[in-house]
């Protein structure tokens, strides 16, 4: 897994609530057996019209906006457990997703793929969205070590929470498999003495 410490970037504002994983990556693109190429189809049915042409009204197609931070409305990533959603967002080039609320499974999937979910207050989110819209060059600074997100050149800043163990994993690029395998003896001992 890729390491994550800090990131300074412009951002893309996706001001929609309840973005579900079917929108992030529709089911018809889940037939692959590897993790590659999902970025091409991220938000497929919002990005493209039925005839395959680009939907100029969708934010990802607006050349004003760019960057490796996606700023989205409340309850991002709800719905299916498909990790393909995280692969698609990472595949497109995002490294951070900011929202006022994340669905559980998506959040876990993101963390397992080096994609940092940053949960902020609703006030901060709406402030952030309006600043990006009024100035697409707005830079955002995300510091995982300090657990802060701030708008560069302003006093707008907020702390965010992350599980201490997951933070260590993100900073060092560790994944859970290594940890679990190193505890195999304990797991075998548990199996031998199950109480249920």
């Amino acid at each position: 897994m890729e390491k994550f410490t800090t990131l300074k970037s412009t951002a893309i504002p996706l001001n929609i609530e309840n973005v579900d994983t079917d929108q992030i990556i529709p089911a018809r693109f889940l037939k692959a057996t590897d993790k590659k190429g999902f970025g091409d189809n991220v938000f497929r049915d919002w990005r493209y019209n039925k005839d395959g042409s680009e939907n100029s009204e969708f934010i990802l197609n607006d050349s004003k906006y760019s960057g490796s931070i996606l700023v989205a409305g409340d309850n991002f990533g709800c719905g299916s457990s498909r990790e393909h959603a995280a692969w698609a967002i990472v595949g497109y080039g995002f490294k951070v997703v900011v929202s006022s609320f994340f669905a559980d499974i998506f959040k876990g999937n993101a963390l397992n793929n080096g994609l940092l979910p940053v949960q902020v207050s609703e006030t901060f989110l709406s402030d952030l969205l309006s600043k990006i819209v009024s100035n697409p060059e707005t830079e955002i600074d995300v510091n995982l070590e300090k657990q802060t997100i701030s708008i560069v050149g302003s006093d707008t800043s907020e702390d965010f929470e992350i599980d201490a163990y997951k933070k260590t994993c993100m900073i060092n690029g560790y994944d859970d498999i290594d940890y679990l395998i190193n505890n195999k003896e304990q797991i075998e001992a548990f199996e031998a003495h199950k109480i249920y």
């Binding site: 609530e17 309840n18 929108q23 089911a27 457990s81 393909h84 994340f102 499974i105």
Partner: protein, 461 residues
């Protein structure tokens, strides 16, 4: 001794160890896999040279991507065929039990596992599918996981998790005629919203759930994820034990009796504390329909669509081509789907057949009935329900996830409405541009007969 909830008891008995100020290692008893979310996990382990730790605790089925017609013939779509072949190959290489397409036990993972007795009270179960919450109906801790976690369970039969908070939803009273378990859960989600359960594990309590069949309880727990909860649970009781008894993988004889003694200790202790509690009255619930693009956007069939100025709400209504303040009654509907891990068990088809018997499907409607498993399919035929469906012009297909997520060819065309017994009404969920209205099998059957949505409560004897 401190009072414990059902969830606490099952969770605590499965904790291998705890990291200071961090997650716990939770032992997983049963791991269900299917073709869509497992291949990358198999690859990961192979690339890292890690063997599958406990292959005999894994059960595999093919369901998401399978055709529901001509299952005896080779699959036409090359990508789908490849995914199924990889599943077969991965299971063969790793000695994993697989019920592949056409096998007598094949079916939707959340229908076939309970049916075979793989699902048992007091156990922990995971699957790379968010509707794994279904199995909580047995008093198991069951939840959906991502593919990285599938790989973790392959490697260690464990997951690193932070214990979720606890939530209890209690529904007491007498359900009205025509109100099914699907209506109960759609009602709860419409009241609580789609993220009310995020970070929580939910227990359903009250006489309404106590009196439900296992099939009904599975429908309820299945949709826990639609209010954000990782899982839902119902305390195991005689109904549960009776259902599990004698099934293929259930404990047999004396072992079963011993297990039952243990399972009886699992229900939540009187006075145990939940982090959040909600109470509803059964009498307030009516047959439900959804009008928007998330499962929380539901109304009683006799109500009108609410008025809301939120831009995401308006975007959702625009997608559905509905107006705030209007009723869904008399809306013409051309597609009806009865199936999915929510409502494809024998009881669902009995309810539908009971309503349909002696009636005809409306000419404008395409009505697909997709059983949850080969066993359900066989039962439909054995009980004579197929004859009822055939005579009424409904099409009984072969088992699979089908039009719930439209990964296979079962897609609802652009712009069309589908009254569906599945679990998600997201944009394009049933095919690009399709518009889903979630409902019970009874409302779905009535819609197919009338060719439009009707107030079912006025049509029941």
């Amino acid at each position: 001794m401190s009072k414990k909830t059902l969830f606490d008891k099952v969770w605590d008995s499965h904790v291998v160890s705890s990291i200071d100020n961090g997650p716990q290692i939770l032992y997983i008893d049963k791991h269900l896999i299917h073709e869509v979310t497992s291949p990358q996990a198999f690859n990961e382990l192979e690339d890292r040279g890690i063997p599958i730790f406990r292959p005999d605790q894994i059960v595999a089925t093919a369901d998401h991507n399978t055709p529901t017609l001509n299952q005896d013939q080779p699959i036409k779509d090359a990508l789908s065929r490849n995914q199924l072949e990889q599943l077969s190959e991965n299971c063969r290489k790793n000695n994993i039990t697989l019920y592949e397409l056409g096998h007598q036990y094949n079916g939707i993972v959340h229908v076939m596992a309970p049916e075979l007795g793989v699902t048992q009270p007091g156990s922990t179960m995971v699957c790379g599918d968010s509707h794994t919450s279904t199995h909580g109906a047995f008093g198991a801790i069951a939840f959906g996981i991502g593919t990285s976690q599938v790989a973790q369970v392959f490697a260690s039969q464990c997951l690193l998790l932070t214990k979720p908070k606890s939530l209890r939803v209690t529904v007491n009273g007498k359900l009205q005629h025509g109100v099914l378990p699907k209506d109960v859960i759609l009602y709860i989600i419409s009241k609580l919203g789609t993220n009310s359960g995020t970070g929580y594990f939910c227990e359903y309590a009250g006489n309404v759930f106590e009196e439900m069949s296992m099939e009904g309880r599975m429908t309820v727990c299945n949709m826990s994820i639609e209010m954000g909860a990782r899982g839902g649970m119902i305390a195991p009781d005689e109904t549960t034990f009776e259902y599990v008894k004698g099934r293929k993988f259930a404990p047999q004889g004396e072992d079963f009796d011993k297990k039952v003694d243990y399972w009886k200790t699992l229900p939540t202790d009187d006075g145990a504390q939940f982090d959040k509690e909600y109470h509803f009255e059964a009498e307030d619930i009516e047959p439900m329909v959804t009008y928007g693009t998330n499962p929380g956007m539901g109304i009683k069939i006799s109500e009108t669509i609410p008025v809301d100025e939120n831009p995401s709400f308006k975007k959702s209504l625009a997608y559905m081509n509905f107006e705030a303040g209007e009723s869904l009654i008399n809306k013409p509907i051309n597609f009806v789907f009865i199936g999915s891990c929510t409502n494809s068990r024998i009881e669902d088809f009995r309810v539908a057949a009971d309503f349909i018997k002696g009636k005809k499907k409306a000419d404008n409607v395409t009505a697909w009935l997709v059983p949850g498993s080969k066993q359900v399919e066989a039962q439909i035929i054995e009980e004579g329900l197929k004859v009822v469906f055939d005579e009424a012009g409904f099409e009984l297909r072969q088992p699979g996830c089908s039009a719930c997520l439209a990964m296979n060819d079962d897609k609802i065309p652009q712009g069309e409405y589908c009254v569906s017994t599945s679990n998600r009404n997201f944009e394009g969920r049933q095919g690009q541009g399709s518009r889903t209205i979630l409902a019970s099998p009874l409302v779905a059957a009535a819609t197919a007969v009338e060719g439009k949505i009707i107030d079912i409560t006025k049509h029941l004897n």
